[in-house]
Symmetry: C2
Subunit: 280 residues, 2 copies
C-alpha cells in the first residue's frame, strides 16, 4: 500500500485559517488513518505542533474541544492531531475495552500478535505522518514540536525525549508519566510488547530520561483535582528522574482543575506559546 494522496473528510474556515480532517492510507498501520490539521492563514511554511490525544479519543476531541485554533492562528502554527489508534482493522477483541486496542494505542510499535500487524503508531507518528504532512501541506519540518494529553501526554513525552532532533519542543497535559509503573501502561505494554522489560523501557519516559537524559525543557500541566494522578499519572516519578539527570522540567499544578478538555482549553494558550517560542 502506498502512502496515498490526501482525501479531505471535512474542512472549515476557522480563525482565518482552515480546520480540516484528512484521511490517508498508512503503511505503518496498514489501515486508513484520520488526522485533524489546523492550517493558519498565509502561505507558510509553518512550524508544526503535533497533538496526541488520550484514551477513547479520536482526531475529533482535540480539534473540537481544546480551543486551540485561536492561539495557533495568532502565532502562525500548524496543528496536527492524529487519531489515537488504527480503526476497523481485523483484530478480534480490539473494541472490547476502553484502555487497550481501539483508541488506546499508547503510541508504541507492537511486537506481539495479533497487534503487531497494525498497532505501529510509534512509526506512524515519528516517520510516516511528518513525511506525509511535509509532502502535502506547507509545513516546515525543521520546526516541529509535540504535545499530548494523558495517554497522549505519555506519547508526546516519550516520542519527544527519544527524538530531540525531530521534535524541538515537548509539552504535555496530565501525562501518564511512567507507563511501566501504572495499571493502564502495564496492561497496554503487556498486550502490545509482551513480557520483555527492555522493550517496555524503550517507551517509558521515566526510564528514557534516566537512561539518556534530555537537553531541552519540558512543560507539563496537571490539575490538582485530576482523579488519575496518584494511580495512573505519577508525575512524582517524572520529577525524580528529571532531578536525577538535571532535566529542566516545568511542572505546574493547576489548582482545582481536572483531567478534562475544560482544563486543556484553559491552558492550551501557554503551551502554544511555549512551542512557538522554541520553534522560531
Amino acid at each position: 500500500m502506498r502512502t496515498s494522496v490526501l482525501a479531505t473528510v471535512e474542512s472549515h474556515r476557522c480563525f482565518g485559517g482552515t480546520q480540516a480532517v484528512y484521511l490517508h492510507n498508512s503503511e505503518s498501520t496498514r489501515s486508513p488513518m484520520r488526522v485533524g490539521v489546523f492550517q493558519p492563514e498565509g502561505e507558510g511554511p509553518f512550524p508544526v505542533l503535533y497533538f496526541l490525544s488520550g484514551l477513547t479519543c479520536t482526531e475529533q476531541n482535540f480539534i473540537t474541544k481544546a480551543s486551540v485554533q485561536r492561539y495557533a492562528a495568532e502565532v502562525g502554527m500548524m496543528v496536527v492531531a492524529p487519531d489515537t489508534s488504527p480503526r476497523e482493522v481485523d483484530i478480534p477483541g480490539a473494541d472490547e475495552s476502553y484502555d487497550f486496542g481501539t483508541g488506546a494505542s499508547f503510541y508504541v510499535d507492537a511486537t506481539e500478535p495479533p497487534w503487531a500487524s497494525h498497532y505501529r503508531m510509534y512509526s506512524y507518528v515519528t516517520h510516516e505522518l511528518p513525511k506525509w504532512i511535509a509532502q502535502h501541506l506547507p509545513a516546515d519540518i525543521h520546526r516541529q514540536g509535540i504535545c499530548g494529553h494523558s495517554m497522549g501526554g505519555h506519547g508526546a513525552l516519550m516520542i519527544g525525549i527519544k527524538n530531540p532532533d525531530m521534535f524541538r519542543s515537548v509539552s504535555a497535559f496530565s501525562p501518564i508519566c511512567a507507563p511501566m509503573q501504572c495499571p493502564w501502561g502495564q496492561k497496554a505494554f503487556q498486550g502490545y510488547l509482551g513480557n520483555d522489560a527492555q522493550a517496555w523501557a524503550q517507551y517509558d519516559s521515566v526510564e528514557l530520561i534516566k537512561a539518556r537524559g534530555y537537553a531541552r525543557e519540558l512543560l507539563v500541566d496537571l490539575g490538582s483535582d485530576d482523579p488519575f494522578v496518584v494511580q495512573q499519572l505519577k508525575p512524582e516519578l517524572l520529577q525524580a528522574a528529571c532531578r536525577q539527570r538535571n532535566v529542566r522540567l516545568s511542572l505546574r499544578w493547576q489548582s482545582g482543575y481536572d483531567h478534562s478538555y475544560y482544563f486543556i482549553s484553559t491552558f492550551i494558550k501557554d503551551h502554544i506559546r511555549f512551542h512557538a517560542d522554541r520553534l522560531r
Copy 2:
C-alpha cells in the same frame, strides 16, 4: 411537579470559573431538563447570557465546542445553555427525524397533541429557566441577554424581540430568520402549532419585527459558505423587515465561514463583548 433543587451532572474548573451541567425537573416541559452553566470566578451577581443551540444539539455542543468560557471569564458573565428540547418523554415518533421532535423544539409552546403536553420550550426559556437560575445561582436577572445558533438563532431573535425588557441584548449566529417561510420552520410550526397562521406569526422574527418593531440593536453573523442560507436561513427577509421598521441590524457576512461550531468559535468573542457592553 415542583421545580427541583439543582442536581449537578458534571462540574469542571475552566478559566478560573466553573463549567457545570445541572439537571432539574421542569414544570413547563414536564420532564427533567439539562442545562449547561458557566459561572465565572467571584461572587457575582453576574449578568447572564442565554445561548440556544440548533437542530440535533444538546446542552453539550455549545459548552464543549464554542470556546466561549475564556471570553465570558474575561467580562465576568454567566453563560446558560439549555438543552434544545425535552428528552425521553413518552411521545411516539419524537425521535424519528432530526428536524422535528427531540433536539428540534424550535423554542415554541406547542398547542397540537401530542406535543403540547411537553414541548413548551418558550415558557421554559422565558419564565421557568431564568427563575430557576436566579433561585440557585448568583445571577443578576436584571441584566440578561440571549444568543443562539441556527434553530437557536431563531429562538434567540424571536424570544429577544418578544421580551425586550427581559433580554436587554440579542444576537445570533446563522439564524433561521423567517421560520414561516422555510422548510425547517414550516414542518416544525405545522407539527407543533397546527394550521393557524396567527399562531405561527407569534414565533416568527420577521413577522414580529413587522408587527411591533424592535428598539434595540441586533447583531447577526452569517458565513458566506453556509449551505443553509438560501433555502432555510433567509437573512434577506430579516434585513427587509428591519429596514421597514427602522430596526438597527448589524448583519455581518463572514467570508468563507460555514454553519459549524468552528464558525461560532471564531466570532463568539465579538458576541460576548456585544452583550457585555449592553449589560453593564
